[in-house]
Amino acid sequence: MSLTDNAPRHIPDRLRSPLQDKLVSWESLLLAVAIAIFIVNSLASPYFLNAWNLSDATFNFTEKAMIAFAMALLIISGEIDLSVAAIIALASTAMGVAMEMGAGTPMLVLVGLTTGVLCGAFNGALVTKLGLPSIVVTIGTMSLFRGISYIILGDGAFRGYPSSFSWFGQGYVFWVISVEFVIFALLAVIFGVVLHKTNFGRMVYATGNNATGALFSGVRVDRVKMTLFLLTGLMSGLAAICLTSRLGSTRPSIASGMELEVVTMVVLGGVNILGGSGSIPGVVIAAFVMGLVTFGLGLLNVPGIVMSIFIGLLLIGVIALPRLWTMWRKKVG
């Protein structure tokens, strides 16, 4: 690819690849996979096509997807946040402390979101002010945030959240449509518009494609990155509220390992892990794919380790496919 392709005026949403030109877009490929999985599941288990069961299945991915939206933007901009699950633990612990002090539901929500934003600010400051690599910073804060939870809680737990608080994780807006699913759908629309229809979205792509070029084009790269870290923190705080409400209790081990599932969802959604390209519709479909796969295999009582293998193969498959295609084209052409 020659340099002129990267002229500031023309920054593509996705880096062009031969696969895309010749075949289908990433999103339609994923959609085909999602539909195939849906059909396989319906045939394989008599319990799959049931409104309540499908509603229950959405809980497998809604909280992760909330964070994945913000994470997608962050990864597109060339950074990453591996501390999101630890932020959930710390935000949940902070809410537990507030609850013990007699806070009501609105206050708990405020505490959860604020904690998330503060954690995001801490990550963002270390990355943008000190210029440290985000993967190292957030591996550090991953231990730091969860460590604070362990210090506060030890092997204990916070329980006894007010009953109105359970609305977020256990409530339903209409029939089988859960509160969490509505939040997920709203966020999908908001993030889709922000990334694909606003100046800010263009700046995110520009930052990820060529940070120096973007800087000289008048994009305040550090401010974009800081905003995205704050946003990721906020979404982690929101996920903490939903998860804590769903579990009805807080333990320091809450959401352990979730950061990898969030990153998996983002990458499966077609976001380039090196930054610069990706889309929100892709992440939305990836969320459904992961949710449907785990729920469908769960209905067949497939052991969890086999599910992990399946997700792993799916991920490697979708990443390797375009590369293999390119290599094959070169060989043939």
């Binding site: 490929l29 085909a32 996979v33 195939a36 059909i39 396989v40 045939l43 394989a44 288990s45 008599p46 319990y47 799959f48 049931n50 309540w52 069961n53 229950d56 299945a57 809980f59 497998n60 737990a157 329980r159 359970s166 994780g169 256990q170 998860l243 769903r246 579990l247 009805g248 209790s249 333990r251 081990s253 809450i254 959401a255 352990s256 390992g257 979730m258 785990t294 729920f295 769960g298 209905l299 067949l300 009582n301 052991p303 969890g304 380790i305 599910m307 992990s308």
Partner: protein, 329 residues
């Protein structure tokens, strides 16, 4: 498109593999903390044994990959969706599973916990592998069985503040009267650290030359004490006993440093949990304080005020059965 064709054939194949679900079978799900743990694999074996004995029962042995509450909730949600008849769960979190298990009970599924319990309002009954009183009695009985003429025993515990160990030692002291001639000469603490436990055990043998047995009601302490006895050349003279894991104690049993020790038997536990779940699901028994419920070959359990019950005495492992269990846990 080739890809679509491939997926369609996969779909058809999956459909063929699924097969019909036998409608007349009662399905009992045994949910464990995580798959791939020997202890729980053995429990599943016990559950299958119970299913065979009852007849017409299908066991669904499942659990998450990691010991997380979130993973267990996903598993339980899929079990609710399958409308299983009963769920018997060893919980990763006492509280976090409660909302999901409540939902299961609302949809008519019998819920019991076993091994690691769920808070009271998240299950109908809980099965403990044993009780503090039974454990306290067992650890002194193990020592006394090999000392018909009485003798000196010492206790090697975990830390001074270990709740479980302190309760067990208290319970042991309550029943000392039943074991005439046995005298507890000292209680020391190895803090559940291998090296400190080893030093404390060595110290015991030096300060009490007539010592006949060391009781270590902790899996770390018992291994360290057995090593200390072997290193001091006192095998046959000092018997190490208490609570330990067969995989870690196989060597000590073989060398004779330990004649026998105890811990719960996971096979019995899986068997009993399945029996209990079946009894409640068929409404042959109801879960209420004081209820006596028959659990097959393991006899009868009595539910206490919190609808919890103790299965049995800890199971004794010695040279006759250690080889069968050392591979398991």
């Amino acid at each position: 498109m080739k890809f679509t064709k491939l997926m369609t054939s996969v779909a058809v194949a999956a459909g063929l593999f699924a097969g019909p679900v036998a409608a007349d079978d009662m399905r009992i799900a045994l949910v464990v903390k995580a798959l791939g743990i020997g202890f729980f694999e053995a429990a599943a074996e016990g559950a299958e044994e119970a299913a065979k004995e009852i007849g017409g029962v299908e066991i669904i042995y499942t659990g998450p990959t990691d010991t997380t509450a979130e993973g267990q909730i996903e598993v339980i949600n899929s079990l609710i969706a399958q409308k299983v008849d009963a769920i018997a769960v060893s919980a990763n979190d006492t509280d976090a599973l409660v909302p999901t298990l409540k939902k299961a009970m609302q949809r008519g599924i019998t819920v019991v916990s076993w091994d690691s319990g769920v808070a009271e309002d998240g299950r109908q009954a809980h099965l403990n592998p044993s009780s503090n009183a039974l454990i306290g009695n067992m650890i002194i009985k193990l020592a006394a069985d090999h000392l018909p003429d009485g003798g000196e025993v010492a206790v090697l515990s975990a830390t001074t503040t270990s709740t479980n160990q302190n309760i067990w030692i208290d319970e042991m002291n309550k029943v000392m009267g039943n074991y005439g001639g046995i005298e507890v000469v000292s209680t020391v603490y190895g803090d559940d650290l291998a090296d400190k436990s080893y030093r404390e055990a060595t110290g015991l043998m030096q300060s009490h030359p007539e010592l006949d047995a060391i009781i270590a009601p902790t899996s770390v302490g018992i291994v360290a004490a057995a090593q200390a006895v072997a290193d001091a050349g006192k095998i046959g003279q000092v018997n190490v006993t208490g609570l330990g894991l067969p995989s870690e104690m196989a060597g000590a049993i073989e060398s004779g440093a330990s004649k026998s020790f105890a811990i719960w038997n996971p096979i019995d536990l899986g068997y009993s949990a399945t029996m209990l779940a079946h009894q409640l699901a068929t409404e042959a028994a109801t879960a209420s304080p004081g209820a006596e419920i028959s659990i097959g070959r393991m006899g009868t359990i009595t539910l206490d005020d919190t609808n919890a019950a103790a299965m049995a005495d800890p199971f004794v492992y010695d040279s006759s059965n250690i080889d069968d269990f050392k591979e398991i846990f």
